[in-house]
Amino acid sequence: MGTPDRATILPALAAILAGAGATLALLLAETQWHVAVVALAGVAALLIGGRAGFGDAIHRSVASHQRVTSATAWLAGAVVVFLLREHNFELLMLCTVMLYVLAGLGLTVQFGFAGVVNFAAAAFMGVGAYTAAVLMTSTGLPHLVVVLAAGVVTALIGSVLLLPLLRTRGHYAALITIAFGILFRTFLEVNDTLGGPQGLKVPGLQIFGYAFNEAIEFDDETEWSFYTAYAGVFIVVLGLAYTLVRRVERSWMGLALDAVRLDETAASAFGLNGAAWKIAAFSFGNFLAGIAGALYAILTAFIAPASFTFGDSLLLLSIVILGGLGNPLGLLPAALVVVVLPEKLQVIQEYRFLLFAALVILILLLRPGGLMPRRAREYFPGRSS
């Protein structure tokens, strides 16, 4: 690759700035009017920008300046958290959005890349959350280990479904995950050792002796919300997971997953083991969902079966579809719309399931690619082939 022109980086920087600005504006908007205007402007910008070809410009510029843009994106995330440091509620919402994006990344790998359906994403988050709760209260394991263990346990429990999932396809496979989601929730509600419908309490996070649930005080005047520390950790986790998913997508593994999804028979004729790829994608996706669930349990300090219903699985699935199936980047605006909007617009709080269901129907009918449709694979990013 030759030395790219410096000016070509501008669209990427502008996009990151716009994204961070829109996130901040949405989180900090005070009145209902501001929220509605910000949200509508954001969605309109995405749709019009995509149509006018800004998307291509941004895409090219990101592709030819990957190091700088990803560093800028991390920095932008840190700046957003820093600016929100004294806003408890807004930080909590930002953290929730990040966890939904993390679980959405898992679904993207499963459904978007490998084509394995999963209508029980919230149930798998629940497995991670309950594992973390039990491990943290009854063992003295370091909390970072607990979070990783929650991911591993979730992947293991998910592997129970592998045999039926691999033997079936299409609707039959969908039914298996739906049955698992319902089974899991019913199980939690009637199981007294896991707290039944009342749920479990979860202690705060401690890493290397640092307790996250204490407000961060510098002197008597400045005090940061304790969610700042959580948000910092979540940004690191989400950034790592996002980078990993992106790398997988771009590598030969992503190519193999795409091939298996598009035509398993043809893929196997080229020597790809479809079952192995589906197992890998399903387990990895559940691992991410489990980690998201564990972090969710720690963040909210309390978990109950009602947080992991079939409806929540559908909400996660609507995030993935709204963002653009298979495009990890689309998860962020979609999660902002699905998670933050109802919290901010109390008018629609009561109607949120109704509205999102209707929204997903409209998207599937009119714009099946979502807000940010997935692009065709580029074998040499940044080079106009």
Binding site: Y172, F187, L314, E350, I361, L365
Partner: protein
């Protein structure tokens, strides 16, 4: 086990089986003609029950007698849901005919959510369970410890009658012939002059009318309906249709009774608490899928590549 108690559980299981079979037949009919799953089916069941409830309230306010109310609510629910089914087929399912099949599943799942939330938000106090009127004769035959309620008999006759009616409709009539032809091969059927869209709409009307009937039977049997009963009923009906083998009407009926048997066994015959009956039933469904991926009465066909 005490024979009277056994008979009681058996009757209860059969009753459940009839309701599940009514729902499952709808799933399998839709899958037969279009190769799609309409997951909002359970919520159509619920909407049918609420339509019947609203009609019965209006009719009893008008001072009609029980049999007339019953007929009025059945008619309203069946006609109303047949219309809803046709509208969904026309505006949600048919436009997505060439999209990936799971998109249809998603679209109808979301349509189900719209129906469910619509009833919760817009039916007066829709988020609470509603008492369903007892319109059937209340007496019972006593055989020792075993009681056979009169209303159970009526409901069984109604449910079984509907299944037999649909069977005859599919096997004996021109419409049934058209449905079977479209299910087998839509293009050839069109070439033979069978109107594709009309047949699909008719199938959705029949399936949704069965769902309405299932909703009314369910309401009369339990004397209670609630806005979220459709989710579980839909999942059970879907499971039943899949266990039996999608596209096969007899499979769906069989599946309905299998699921009811699993729930009954889970509730009474197993060592753990009866609250685990759904965990048990859905667990067995997952195992059954691993054992017979195409359902118990699977179509014998090789995959087309």
């Amino acid at each position: 086990m005490d024979p009277a108690l056994f008979a009681q559980h058996l009757l209860n299981g059969v009753m459940l089986g009839v309701i599940y079979a009514l729902v499952a037949v709808g799933f399998t009919l839709f899958f037969g003609v279009l190769d799609v799953i309409k997951f909002s089916h359970g919520d159509v069941v619920m909407l049918g029950a609420f339509t019947a409830l609203a009609t019965s309230i209006a009719a009893s306010a008008a001072g009609l007698s029980s049999p007339v109310i019953l007929a009025a609510m059945l008619l309203a629910a069946i006609v109303g849901m047949a219309l809803v089914g046709m509208l969904m087929a026309r505006y949600l399912v048919l436009p997505l005919r060439n999209a990936p099949t799971l998109n249809v599943l998603l679209v109808t799942l979301m349509a189900g959510t719209v129906i469910r939330e619509g009833v919760r938000l817009f039916y007066p106090q829709g988020s609470n369970p509603k008492p369903f009127p007892r319109l059937l004769p209340t007496g019972a035959f006593e055989f020792g410890a075993f009681t056979l309620r009169h209303d159970s008999i009526v409901l069984l006759v109604l449910g079984v009658g509907a299944i037999v009616f649909v069977h005859l409709l599919i096997v004996r009539t021109r419409l049934g012939l058209a449905i079977r032809a479209v299910a087998q091969d839509p293009e050839t059927a069109s070439a033979m002059g069978i109107p594709f869209r009309g047949t699909v709409l008719a199938t959705f009307a029949i399936g949704s009318a069965l769902a309405a009937l299932a909703g009314v039977v369910n309401g009369l049997y339990y004397s209670e309906v609630s806005f979220n009963m459709g989710l579980l009923l839909g999942a059970i009906g879907f499971s039943a249709a899949v266990i039996g083998g999608l596209g096969n009407v007899y499979g769906a009926i069989l599946g309905g009774f299998v699921f009811a048997a699993l729930q009954t066994i889970g509730a009474v015959a197993l060592p753990f608490a009866s609250a685990y009956k759904d965990v048990f039933a859905f667990g067995v469904v997952i195992l059954l899928m691993a054992w017979k991926p195409g359902g118990l009465l699977a179509e014998r066909s090789a995959e087309r590549v």
